[in-house]
């Protein structure tokens, strides 16, 4: 039981944080500038042509959708490319296991860290939304714990892929075959209602639609129609991901 509750994984989070801190300025600029360019370019340009969508100006619709999407992207990227570097290229995890650390500690640490990076990126979108006057007041801040859950769901999934990967090329399939189609059917850039019902069911089985609905509900006040389902799906992906990744990485590292 004490083993189950051990906080040793925080050493891993701290290690990754120390590396990130060295690249703090470019990383933060990227986190802020990238969504700003997207939002302003896409939202203002396209938004001028569009009517209100689901009762929202297009820019507000887009910004609230992008909070979940950006969290997903950032957490996935970290748990794929950066984690694979530490697993394979740099053998960082192998070194950590010479110390009194376990595979479980490594996976929990990476899972948490990638989720936190996702939160940082999602929060940057929120900051931009505040700056553009798309959201106001305190309520939108309640989206932060929600995107932590979004980050945990996607970093868990990505760690499973990393545990199976033989090279970086593998991740291209994950983005092309899963992340990009999911983005298109999950109501991030346009409402999913107009899509065929089969596609809508598929979207409901994937985590991004739920992340998008929750983010819109908390930030721009759109009514939440199924908040318990939204949370349950994200929790399920997060837990299934981290457990499967731990099992797979134990097999890979302890052979």
């Amino acid at each position: 039981m004490t083993e189950l509750l051990s906080l040793r994984f925080l050493h891993i989070v701290r290690r990754n944080y120390l590396v990130w801190r060295k690249l703090f300025v470019p990383s933060l600029l990227g986190n802020l500038a990238d969504p700003l360019i997207w939002l302003v370019g896409f939202g203002v340009g396209l938004g001028a042509l569009l009517p209100r969508i689901e009762g929202l100006p297009y820019l507000a619709f887009l910004a609230s959708g992008m909070i979940g999407y950006t969290t997903m992207y950032s957490a996935s990227f970290e748990a794929l490319y950066s984690a694979f570097a530490r697993l394979h290229t740099q053998r960082t995890w192998e070194g950590i296991l010479y110390a009194p650390m376990t595979v479980r500690d490594v996976v929990l640490g990476e899972w948490t860290w990638a989720a936190l990076k996702g939160v940082a990126s999602g929060a940057a979108i929120l900051a931009v939304a505040y700056a553009l006057g798309l959201v106001d007041g305190w309520r939108p801040l309640a989206v932060l714990p929600v995107i932590l859950l979004v980050g945990l769901a996607f970093s868990g999934m990505a760690l499973v892929v990393t545990a199976l990967a033989r090279s970086y090329d593998f991740f291209v399939y994950y983005f092309t075959l899963l992340i990009t189609p999911m983005m298109l059917i999950s109501g991030v850039f346009f409402p999913a209602d107009s899509l065929p019902s089969g596609v809508r069911v598929a979207a409901s089985l994937l985590p991004l639609a739920h992340a998008t609905e929750l983010a819109r509900g908390f930030t721009v006040g759109q009514a939440l129609t199924r908040p318990a389902v939204n949370v349950a799906v994200l929790v399920a992906y997060a837990l299934a991901g981290v457990l499967l990744a731990t099992w797979l990485l134990r097999r890979r590292l302890m052979k």
């Binding site: 701290r14 290690r15 590396v19 740099q90 053998r91 110390a99 009194p100 302890m254």
Partner: protein, 301 residues
């Protein structure tokens, strides 16, 4: 300090460790020797709890492994065959971050860093980036990193593979100092001179089993003739057939060189006087001769 009994490790249908038994006493330097694929690295991984043995019993620093491997690793340092220093950190940061994995406080590790870097000959390099270090410096930093928790026992997998002679001698010097300080050392190597120089006792592994286990000098005295004459040059085959086989106890060929093992080299050297085309090198038998006698001359890939 370390007990290994009847250790076995199977991968699928292949058993790479087949009943290995040995003990290492506190303060001893023990070498595990063997050709590539003999099972040395797998044995080390089992001992450290980094893979599950198929059978056998291991006790490391008073803890049963793999059951309490994590607790045992608090008392253990590891220098791997391939460097896995953290390239995102400086030399000092590598030590501090690694120390934290042992639950050490940052201030406590920082206080130890100067002594560790001094020991590793990296005192000037505390703020250097890893990519600027030479191969020898990286290996020494890995050694310093393995000492960050002041371990009782240090495991080194091929500690000097890939290093130039100067760098090897520096590593050997440091390892001798550690043994003098009372640390227990377990190393794998396929450099016999390294084992002969450093190890109090060696175990020679082949095909997953220990086939000889003793002090290097005792193994040499017990297993092999004391003198060797290496003979090579035009006509060496004819000389061996005419004289070599009768004058030496044993003759072996590697390529065009005849290794003549004997009690006394004088007769062989006399006979070679009348074969001016042949060159000869006379030397005392060493651990490498024992190793090759026991494991054969075939190439292992």
């Amino acid at each position: 300090m370390l007990t290994v009994e009847n250790l076995r490790k199977r991968y699928g249908s292949q058993e790479v460790v087949r009943g290995v038994t040995f003990r290492v006493a506190e303060g001893e330097c023990f070498g595990l020797l063997g050709p590539n694929g003999a099972g040395k690295t797998t044995t080390l991984k089992c001992i450290l709890g980094l893979t599950e043995p198929s059978a056998g019993r291991i006790e490391l620093a008073g803890y049963p492994v793999p059951q309490a491997a994590r607790q045992a690793r608090y008392r253990v340092g590891v220098v791997p065959q391939f460097d896995n220093l953290d390239p995102d950190f400086t030399v000092r940061e590598n030590l501090v971050v690694f120390g934290r994995y042992f639950g050490l406080r940052t201030a406590d590790v920082l206080a130890r860093v100067p002594a560790l870097l001094e020991f590793a000959g990296l005192a000037e390099k505390a703020d250097a980036r890893i990519e600027t270090l030479s191969g020898g410096m990286k290996r020494r930093l890995t050694l310093a990193r393995a000492l960050v928790n002041d371990p009782q026992v240090l495991f080194m997998d091929e500690p000097t593979t890939g290093l130039d002679p100067q760098a090897r001698h520096l590593i050997w010097d440091r390892l001798k100092r550690l043994v003098a300080d009372g640390k227990t050392l377990v190393l794998t190597t396929h450099f016999m001179d390294e084992a002969e120089r450093l190890c109090d006792r060696v175990g020679i592994m082949d095909n997953g089993q220990i086939i000889a286990l003793d002090a290097p000098q005792a193994l040499i005295a017990r297993s092999i003739e004391p003198q060797v004459v290496e003979v090579y040059g035009e006509g060496v085959q004819r000389w061996v057939e005419k004289h070599g086989r009768t004058l030496a106890q044993r003759v072996e060929f590697t390529g065009e060189t005849a290794f003549c093992y004997c009690q006394d080299a004088a007769a062989i050297l006399d006979s070679l006087e009348s074969w001016p085309a042949l060159k000869a090198l006379r030397r005392a038998a060493n651990l490498e001769d024992v190793f090759i006698k026991l494991t054969g001359r075939d190439i292992r890939d």
